[in-house]
């Protein structure tokens, strides 16, 4: 198994998470996000950790639960990707 520093996230899984969180302004609980993005829980945790390190998402405590939400940087990344695809095709 690659070390965390070697691990390369899959672009499509990242986009799936980004896409789901874009629609949820107040964020989503991990379990719901896991179902919505069709990934295993362990995998999702790994992706969320990576995205948190990159400043794309943030973890917000909410009623004893942890909610994953997009940061402004994450929202900007989503906007940019959509515009790039729009310009390319």
């Amino acid at each position: 198994m690659p070390s965390p520093s070697e691990w390369k996230p899959d672009m499509y899984v990242l986009s799936r998470i980004l896409d789901r969180l874009w629609k949820e302004e107040n964020g989503m609980m991990r379990t719901r996000l896991q179902v919505a993005t069709n990934t295993s829980y362990d995998n999702l945790v790994r992706y969320v950790t990576w995205m948190t390190e990159k400043g794309l998402v943030t973890i917000i405590p909410n009623d004893g639960h942890e909610v994953v939400a997009l940061t402004e940087k994450g929202r900007e990344a989503y906007r940019r990707i959509v515009l790039w695809i729009f310009e390319t095709v």
Partner: protein
Amino acid sequence: MRHAYLSSADLFFVGKIKELKTWHLALISVFIILFISWMVVELINAFYSTEKFGLFILVNFLVLGFNIDCAISGLICYSIAIKVPAEGVSIEALRSKVCYMTNGRKGDREIITDGIRIQLDGQAVMNVTLRNDSGRSMLNVRASPTLETISIMFILFILIPVGGVAVLFHGLKAYEKARRFTHEELEPMMASSKAEEQEQEGPGLTYSDRDVNSKMVETVSRLQHLVFGANKATINAYQERLVLLLVAIPVILVVSLAYSFGQKWPLELVLIAELIILVPFLIASLYRLRRHYRPLITELNDWERWLATARQVVDTSAVRSDPEGTNFSVLEMVMLASKQVPRWIKLRSGNMFVRSPRATIIIAGLIVLGWNMRSLQGYLGDLYYAILASFIGLGIIIFIIVKLGIKAEDKVKLSHWQERIERLMSQIQNSFEGD
């Protein structure tokens, strides 16, 4: 969602047909009626011909339509009297240009992106030009048939008696498709940016969010367009090959049987020998065609369905009602579909007839010339076969040269698109990495 897909063949006819007045249509109708009556007369004549050659004429007429005028010499004047004016009207209909105009907003240049260009561009037999007139906020899309188009249609018209009706019928059908394309595809594209401003702001949506959403809708719509075009072109190619195969085999069979009448060969033996060769060939070819095209069409159908779902999801998101129970990611789908774009563009590119009309005309000319020269066989003797062989050789050489040229052109076009997509993917990757 309905799409209006314009093939190059459709654009042949987007000429003056749009501007035709009632009396033009009435004239065309008269010609169609005269054509049909002429065909019936010729058919009856062929049926009642007492010579064995009559059967050959009938087969020719039904399947190829070649040389019917020469064969039934008594009707030459009649057919010329009908065909020439009809050809004149058709050529006139193809000659002039059509202009699409629609109200745009600022940034028309931005609206005419590659997605729209693909739809209008690459029509080898068309002069398609896009003109921006931002001062008057107007987008003009001019489509006019080239000289080659007119020549091809003229040759088709002369060669095939039933072609006259087909040309006119297809012309009207193409006009309808062109109209739909303008009204249902181009105009909404132009109007979408205007509608954006007037749209009521949904709860919790900032302007930029709405902007992103509308860009996503448009991207999905363009991808739908591309896959629809690719699918349609693939289905057409499949059907064309099927028809060609199913027509060619009986033609070979009947023509060779007709020839064997004159040679006094035992017909049963000829028929059995031909069936032994042709039937397995037909079955093998049908199987090969099916094996090649069916998976491709199924895959394209799947893409169409997935993109339709993406469109549905993105439309639902636009009004901010959470599409509960769906884990469909539009962004992921769009990213995956973008990678397919070069392939779809390749599938959409037309066949040789459309891509290189000049060569098609020359090859068709050689075939017709070779066919017609058989009447001189008696005078020329063995020289006839030498000339025929040189025609065939020349045709094959031209065909190979053109095919190689088209292949090279496709390669350049494909690599250009692959570069675009690779650049996009690395941009996205870098965006995630935060570089």
